[in-house]
């Protein structure tokens, strides 16, 4: 059966309609969860609001477990599902830079779209900065082209790296998520005692 578009079950003409619908649902979920506010998002780093961790980890384990069952039931051809390729050193650097950008800017690209959508100028500022950043990267690209393509490991999965099954990897993620939900709930309760506000819009 799935994935439908790569198998040609849904033809190319519908691509953009589907992308628009998926995007709309994505934006709706992000905004209604509280991600249009940078102060809600940054709470994850200061312990007063862990909404990012809750939404992110819940979504991740739901999708992971879902894919596992879809595969088990034969509903999806996992070989045709895109596994993001790994470029070791560049991705470590990229994650590092984005972490810094996250705690300074308080948004990531997706959440900044929803902030713009409800009229937040800081969302537009973040998006403008993002565009400048891509421009700087592209203009300077010849300087680090070799580095950009270095450390290529292919479309490798977590299970393959640690030599364990992907079922076990998923199970570990679920356990880690549940522990994280509980621990951050305790932290949040403690931090919120000393604050008058912890949720923003």
């Amino acid at each position: 059966m799935g994935p439908l578009i790569p198998q040609g079950i849904i033809t190319g003409q519908w691509d953009f309609v589907i992308a628009l619908l998926i995007g709309t649902a994505f934006g709706f979920i992000l905004e209604s969860s509280g991600f249009s506010s940078s102060r809600n998002i940054a709470g994850v780093f200061y312990g007063y609001n862990f909404v990012v961790l809750r939404v992110f980890f819940t979504a991740m384990i739901v999708a992971m477990v879902g894919l596992l069952y879809f595969n088990y039931l034969g509903w999806i051809e996992m070989d045709m599902v895109f596994v993001l390729p790994t470029y070791l050193a560049p991705m470590i650097l990229g994650g590092f830079i984005m972490g810094l950008g996250f705690v300074i800017g308080g948004f990531c690209p997706g959440t900044s779209y929803t902030a713009c959508a409800i009229g937040k100028l800081d969302g537009f500022a973040f998006l403008g900065g993002f565009i400048i950043g891509v421009f700087i990267f592209a203009e300077a690209f010849p300087l680090f082209e070799n580095f950009y393509y270095s450390g290529y490991m292919g479309n490798i999965t977590i299970g393959e790296v640690f030599n364990i099954s992907n079922e076990l990897v998923t199970f570990i993620f679920v356990i880690v998520a549940i522990v994280a939900f509980y621990v951050t709930w305790l932290i949040e309760k403690k931090v919120r005692k000393n604050r008058t506000e912890s949720k923003f819009e």
Partner: protein, 179 residues
């Protein structure tokens, strides 16, 4: 008493676990339909490519990075799945903001300890870093960290762990922006 008034007047958001389940199901559906996950940064990147390709086509084609994303059949880089997804994300956010009463006039949201100007500068700097980092990381929080890790990509896990981990490492230095 103050606490109570905050609860009644507080922002209306859906339960984060419920939001997470919805987002997870959407991500699963996206994998099932498209064979790939959600993304956000790709659309902004393609916009940059398009602008440069319009202003200075020779420069764009001479640069190995822009050139990667310029279609060979002369169609616009904007005629792409990622762009339509981002347009949808914008309208989805607007729809939710409208329903929950957050769709208001233009404003800057910032902590009372900093000025609006400081917040705007921090947002631009943060955005710039994300713009650079997401190119090295092969995606942002959506494409690499969330969708990548959900499809069990090792690179996705790396990006996710570093993005949050480094955020915590530097949180102390930027605390004045937030608390």
């Amino acid at each position: 008493m103050k606490k109570n008034s905050n609860i009644t007047k507080g922002p209306r958001y859906i339960n984060p676990y419920f939001g997470g389940i919805l987002l997870g199901l959407l991500l699963l559906a996206t994998f099932y339909i498209a064979g790939r996950g959600l993304s956000a940064s790709g659309a902004a990147k393609l916009s940059v490519v398009t602008i440069i390709d319009k202003i200075a086509p020779a420069h764009a084609e001479g640069n190995a990075y822009y050139d990667k994303f310029i279609p060979t059949d002369d169609s616009s880089p904007l005629f792409n799945w990622l762009i339509f997804g981002a347009i949808g994300t914008f309208f989805g956010g607007m729809l939710s903001g409208g329903i929950y009463g957050r769709l208001k006039k233009l404003r800057i949201e910032h902590s009372p300890n900093i000025t609006g100007k400081t917040r705007m500068i921090a947002a631009v700097v943060g955005g710039m870093l994300f713009g650079i980092g997401s190119q090295f990381g092969r995606g942002c929080s959506s494409g690499a960290a969330l969708s990548g890790t959900a499809s069990l990509s090792f690179g996705g896990l790396l990006v996710m762990a570093l993005m949050f981990g480094i955020g915590y490492v530097f949180a102390y230095f930027f605390r004045k922006l937030w608390i």
